[in-house]
Structures are given as C-alpha cells and as structure tokens.
Amino acid sequence: MTGEASGAARTPQALEGVKVVEFAVFAAGPMVGKHLGEHGATVVRVESRTRPDGFRVHYPPYKDNIPGLNRTGSFALFNDSKFGVTLNLKHPQGREVAGRLVAWADILIENFVPGVMARNGLDYEAAREINPSIIYLSSCNMGQTGPKAGQRGFGSQLTSQSGFTYLTGYADGEPMLLFGPYIDFVAVGFGLIAVTAALDHRRRTGRGQYIDLSQYEAGLQFIAPALLDHELNGVIPACLGNRSPHAAPHGAYPCRGEDRWCVIAVHTEEEWRAFCRAAGRPEWTEDARFASLDARKAHEDQLDALVEAWTRGRTPQDVMETLQAAGVPAGVVNRLSDLFADPQLAHRRVWRALPHPELEAFHYEAPPFILSETPAELRRSPLLGEHNARVYREILGLPDEEIERLIADGVIE
C-alpha cells in the first residue's frame, strides 16, 4: 500500500486478511475504516468524482490555503491506511461493480442518511443476497428507524441534541460549542467495537450481522449519569464552568504569556497539602477557609483568586512540572502547536508525519491504544481514485479491457 516503508521487517498486524468496503463520507463512517486499516485490514474506500466527499471540497484546512480534491487536511486525517477508488453508483454498471466489492468484503461500512444505500441497490437485503455473511454497519445521526430517521444532520449539531453542549459553558452562561463534530468520534469508537465483535461472532458461527448505529444513541452512553440523575432525582444537570463538586481548587488558571493556561485538580486532603507546599504557601493549610473540601468549596472564589495569583507569574509547563513533582494533578492547557511538541505524544508516536504528493508531510494520527505485539501501522491517505487499477485489477480481478470499457462508460470515474 502507499506510503509503506519498503524493505522494512514487518510486524504482524492484528486484522490482516480482514476485507472492508466503505461507502461512506465525512468522518463517522470513514474513521471506522481507518482504524481497521491501520491494524492491517484491507480497506477499500469507494468515492464519487462527480460528488466527492465534502471533506475533499468545502472544508478547510487546505494545503497553502488553496482548495483542491487532494489538498484537504480533514480528508487526509480520517482516511489513512486504505485504498481509494472511484465509482459511479448512479450507473447500473457501477452498482454491478459495487456488488463485486460487496461479495469480496467481510465488512461493509456506510454512513448515509437512511434510504440512500437502498436507492443505490446496496442496502443490507441486497448486500446479503450477494454475500450472506456480510457484516454491515449503518451509522447515521438518528438511527435507521423512528420519526426522525430521515433528517439529515452533521455531528457539530448532533453534539447539541445529545446533551454535550448544554453541559458545556460558564456557570449561568450560554452553552458553548465543543469545537466540532465531537459526537462523530464517539460513534466511530462504538462502530469499531460493534464490527470487531461481529467479526469474532462470524468467525465462530459463520453468521453476519446488520448493525444499526444511531450516533445520537451512541453519544448518550457518554452522559448516562446525567440521564439517570434526571430519571431518579428529577435533576437537570447543567454546566458548572470548570468546577467540580468533588475537588477544589479545580479549574483553568491563567499563566504567563498570551492566552496561556494551566489546569489544577485537587481532590484529596493529601493533594491539598502537597499543593500548598509546592506553591510555597504552607500557611494555606492552616487557613480555616480551606480546612476541608467543604470549606474550600464554600470559599472557592477566594481560593481561586489566590491560586491565580500564584499561577500568573509562571508558565503552564512550570506549573505542571512543579505540581506533578509534588504529586498534584496539574497540566498544561495545550494548544494545537503544543501537541506537536509534547514529549509524551512523541514517545507514543501519536503523530505520524508521512509524505503525501500534494500535502508534502502530513501528520496522521495513530490510535490512543497501543497493541504490544501488533502496533498500528499508518499509510498515507489516498488521492482521489489513486488505487483504481490496484483494486479493480488485482483485488477484483477484472480484465484490462473491461476496466477500460468501464472508464470509457463513466462507471469508473
């Protein structure tokens, strides 16, 4: 595959031999394929040239701020470690070729609004006719059924329907955005879990599976305690800024430099005493206002003002190192640039700078779990249609003349 170091001794990969076809767009579908691909599955991403993935077209960042189908960072980040082919699914012969990919695959991933795959003749019933043991993942905002199933939507808004936005903000203030499509990546994790479990089940039983994943319902797993609080106690949990009922001091505090911040989280009395010593303020441990968690919570504004007076003269790195050395949870509010200089992320090889013909060196992102025997190997994201020959000729075994005819007929775009 592209970007693979040639000649290097290969470690085994966990999902070698697993075959995946993706009819998917944006993040929620393609990211599942990425995680399978980086662990060794052969993943074929089917794309349209006439209606390319939105992340190839109208989403910055672009390399040098110049748009282009192979110049977007979002497409790259979510589509490494897979082959890319183009196919016109509106063309009857396109569907026929897609059917061959379905026959080849163990897993099919799609994340269109319900009904699209059926219109393309590729819904679960059709796929099962071709490949009775296929594992078919449908991931969409609201699930395949119910009165809202047909509503289109994106994760940046669904994150609000799922309660996350309401739970984010300054106390008594407006709800704050969680930057982007937070919930998409929750759905990615649960989608990955469902297909890998289904794969094991199929290996033992020979039976496939249809998986209806509502991104909304997947997201609600992350706020289950808030839903139970409403159910059992009639409470509607709201945003608290950065405060916690279980810790004080607990917040983001300003540091030296422009818009630089650190975080400090003191949960126990032991941590509180260690914090006071490390900050050079042992007298705070004698202060009746701060003598217990309850007392610190009752005087939290005063406490925060004192903590802030201490952090303001220091860099966030200095605060983190000083307090961590004393056993107090503290950290830097990392900006994007800090993440790329972070020694721990470097140690875990999270960022993989791989050469790309149009992006030069792009930083791909490895998963947050490291498998000791079969660590992830990332290969750069495909250019649009880059692997048409490889997939149609070598994987599907189509003769050259048929491929040429499909290109001439606009089937392979």
């Binding site: 930057f179 929750v186 409403h230 640039s337 947050p368």
Partner: protein, 432 residues
C-alpha cells in the same frame, strides 16, 4: 483448598440475554472509574464480565451524584450506569493469597482490564509480564492517564487534566475567558470506549493466532479524537485555532467565525449555514420557513445558496446573513425547531438537556429506554439503552450493577468450588 483444582465454568449468562456476540468469553474487570465503560461495553456484547473490587468496594461507588441525592454508597449514578451487565466479587490484591486468587481467575479468563498506576500490578506479581506466563492467550488492557511508559507515565491524571492536555479545552469557551471542559467527566468515557475497541482488535488477532497481548491505553490520547480535524490545521497551516465560544472556527479560509448557537424562546438551538449540496438544501429550507412566517427580508429570499461557498465566506458576509436568523430563532421554541427541522430537513438541532432527551419521540419510537429492576430501591429505573442494534444479537442490559461482593458465593463457591467454611476463612483473612 479443595476447590483449587476444579475447573471454572463460564457462568453468568442470563436466560433473557438471547444471542450475544461475545457470549463465550470472560473478562476480569479490575478498573476504577477510568475504565468502567470498557467492561460495560464488553458486557453489553455478552461477555461474562466479573468486576473485581477491593474489600470495601470500588471507591468510585462513593462519588456522587447519588440516587436520592444523598451519599448512599453503592448507588453512585456513574457506578450504576457503567457497571451494569457485570457480576461483582471482592478481592484483596494487597495480600499474596489474594494475588493467588487472581492468578486462579486468570487461568480461565480471556480478558483482563485494569486502570492502576503503571507498575502497580507488576509490583504485586500480577502484571502482564507475570500473567502472560499463566495464560499466553490473555488480552490484558491497561488504562492510565498518559500510558504505561514515557516521560509523563508517572504523572497524575484526572478528567480536567486529560481534557486540558488533549488540546480540546483550548478550543472550547469564549475568547479571552478560561478554556472549558464538559461539566460531566468525559475523559474516562473516551478512554473506556477506545480501550474496548483496542481490546477487541487484539482479541481478533488472538483468536487467529492464540497469542494474547498488552493493550496500552492513554486516557489523554483517547480524548485527542474529540478535536476532530483541528490537528490538521496545525499540520497544514501551522495554525493554533482559537476557541470560538458559540461560533464555529476554521470553516472559512478567510478566518470568518460562524455562529452555531442561537438563542430561542426557551433555550438555545444549534444551526449553521453549511456549504455543498446538503448545505444548500438546508439553507433554502430554513429561508422557506422564515418566508412562510413573513420573517425573511427580501435580499435573503433572493439569495442564491447554490453559489454560496462557505469555505470562502467573509466575516462581513456571515454577520449580515446571521441577523435575520438570530431574530427568527429567538421567537421559536426548542420543540418547534425540533419538529420543523425534521419536517423541512434543516441541518440543526436544539441544545437539549436531560429532560429534552428523555422526552424525545425519536428515542421512544426506537424503544431506546430500558427498564432495569432495582429491588433495593423498590423501583424500576429507565436506563439509556444500547449503543447499537445488531440484527442477530442483543446489546441490552441484562443485569444491574452488582452490590459489593454480590457474586462472591456464585464465583468463588459455585464456580471455583470453595466450600462455605473456606469462603469464611478467606473473608476473615481479609482476602474478600
């Protein structure tokens, strides 16, 4: 001990369970709140998950909010939510005999998941290096704040630390005001979910090769994906995006910010102008609704959304566009927007709270909520339902979270064959 040589049976399946994807497997769950979700997910998929707690119970049981508002240990809502579908036993890992008990449990386990500080289990002779000798096929998953090794491996973590160090907080909140986390802890959710994914990938390899492995999950790294495409901005543009408050940033090459949170009559709505074909349809549908209510100015009705390029839009253009939408949405309710946005296929949703979610007809129609019996509360409680629907298997809750040591008799007695007097001896020795 007469029970020592008895084979373990894989108990714990419930007749209500139906077909479950991971039914043949057993998980030993030694996690605290940082890893509960991982075991819960494996349990939802049908694995026999045995939650192993210290004698006094998992400390996370005592972290509120609680059922009934007051501190009633064993009834922390997070405990209840993330330990359903598990059985529970107690075990003292500090005592050598307790470590022996764990080794015996490992003989017949397929997975072990834990969230102790790096080196803690190694120091007690039950880390991965030791346990793989007992069971080379064991998949052993560790969940820690920063990972097992590296310069920050010994750093202390918490939800706030992970949210900050992941970079997410720098992107959340008003410019000029402090960066924000989500008020409900999220880092352990990201970690538990990713741990389950990594565990199952390792499982797939194990089932082909009979080789287990160590899955090393970093909680901070798990939150990195919550940043979505933000890291690409640095990679391609060497750009530190700033937090946008209620506006989305990074959507236009001009740097324009776009409002996404609008006030409405009873709260807020999340709506944004999208580009592309989906955006055109949504924007047109929104203007059509405004037109029907006589609230769309003439210039807006004339706007050609087919040529609207969100990726090149300027701040001036966006500010002008927003005006009529701000005024229009201020007069609508969350429920009104929810139903009209479905009917008209508008890309947007209300900013829902727990009550809105509980009342959402979509979730009711899909039978999402699941009633779980809680005899000790004298109540049946509606829990959020499964994370996915599988055609040939159930992911439903088949048992509520265990009480402390609830299954000691069932597992140590029934499955491992310890007699009642032997169990009493173990208990008195402080092992259970």
């Amino acid at each position: 001990m007469t029970g020592a040589d008895q084979p373990l049976e894989r108990g714990g399946t419930d007749p209500r369970a139906g077909a479950r994807l991971l039914a043949p497997y057993r998980v030993l769950d030694l996690t605290d709140g940082n890893g509960w979700l991982c075991g819960r997910i494996l349990g939802d998929l049908g694995a026999d998950v045995v939650k192993i707690e210290p004698a006094g119970g998992d400390p996370g049981r005592r972290i509120g909010p609680f059922c009934g508002g007051g501190p009633r240990p064993a009834e922390s809502l997070a405990w209840l939510a993330y330990n359903a579908n598990k059985r529970g036993i107690t075990l003292n890992l500090e005592a050598p005999a307790g470590q022996d008990l764990l080794r015996r449990l490992v003989h017949r386990a397929d997975f072990l998941i834990e969230s102790f500080a790096p080196g803690y289990l190694d120091g007690r002779g039950v880390g991965y290096r030791e346990l793989r000798k007992i069971s080379p096929r064991l998949v052993f998953t560790s969940i820690t704040p920063f990972g097992q090794t590296g310069p920050y491996a010994r750093y202390r973590g918490s939800d706030l630390i992970a949210m900050a160090m992941s970079g997410l907080m720098a992107l959340v909140g008003e410019p000029g005001r402090p960066p924000l986390r989500v008020s409900l802890p999220q880092a352990a959710m990201w970690a538990g979910m990713h741990a389950a994914a990594g565990t199952l990938i390792a499982h797939d390899y194990r089932e082909r090769t009979r080789r287990g492995q160590h899955v090393d999950v970093s909680i901070r790294d798990s939150v990195l994906w919550a940043l979505a495409n933000a890291p690409a901005h640095w990679s391609l543009m060497r750009e530190d995006l700033e937090r946008g408050g209620t506006s989305i940033v990074g959507r236009s090459t001009t740097g324009a910010r776009m409002r996404a949170i609008y006030r409405c009559r009873d709260g807020h709505i999340n709506f944004i102008f999208y580009g592309g074909e989906a955006g055109r349809r949504s924007n047109e549908a929104m203007v059509q609704w405004m037109t029907e209510m006589n609230e769309a100015p003439e210039w807006l009705r004339q706007k050609d959304w087919g040529t609207f390029n969100v990726a090149a839009s300027t701040q001036e253009e966006i500010d002008r566009l927003e005006g009529p939408f701000v005024a229009f949405l201020l007069k609508r309710t969350k429920a009104e927007f929810a139903s009209e946005s479905v009917r008209r296929n508008i890309l947007g949703y209300p900013v829902a709270d727990a009550r809105d979610i509980r009342g959402d007809p979509q979730l009711a129609a899909r039978g999402f909520w699941q009633e779980v019996d809680h005899p000790e509360l004298d109540a049946a409680v509606m829990y959020p339902g499964p994370f996915a629907r599988c055609s040939g298997a159930s992911c439903a809750i088949v048992r509520r979270a265990p009480r402390i040591g609830e299954h000691n008799g069932e597992i140590y007695g029934g499955e491992m064959g310890y007699s009642r007097p032997e169990l009493e001896t173990l208990r008195q020795a402080g092992l259970l």
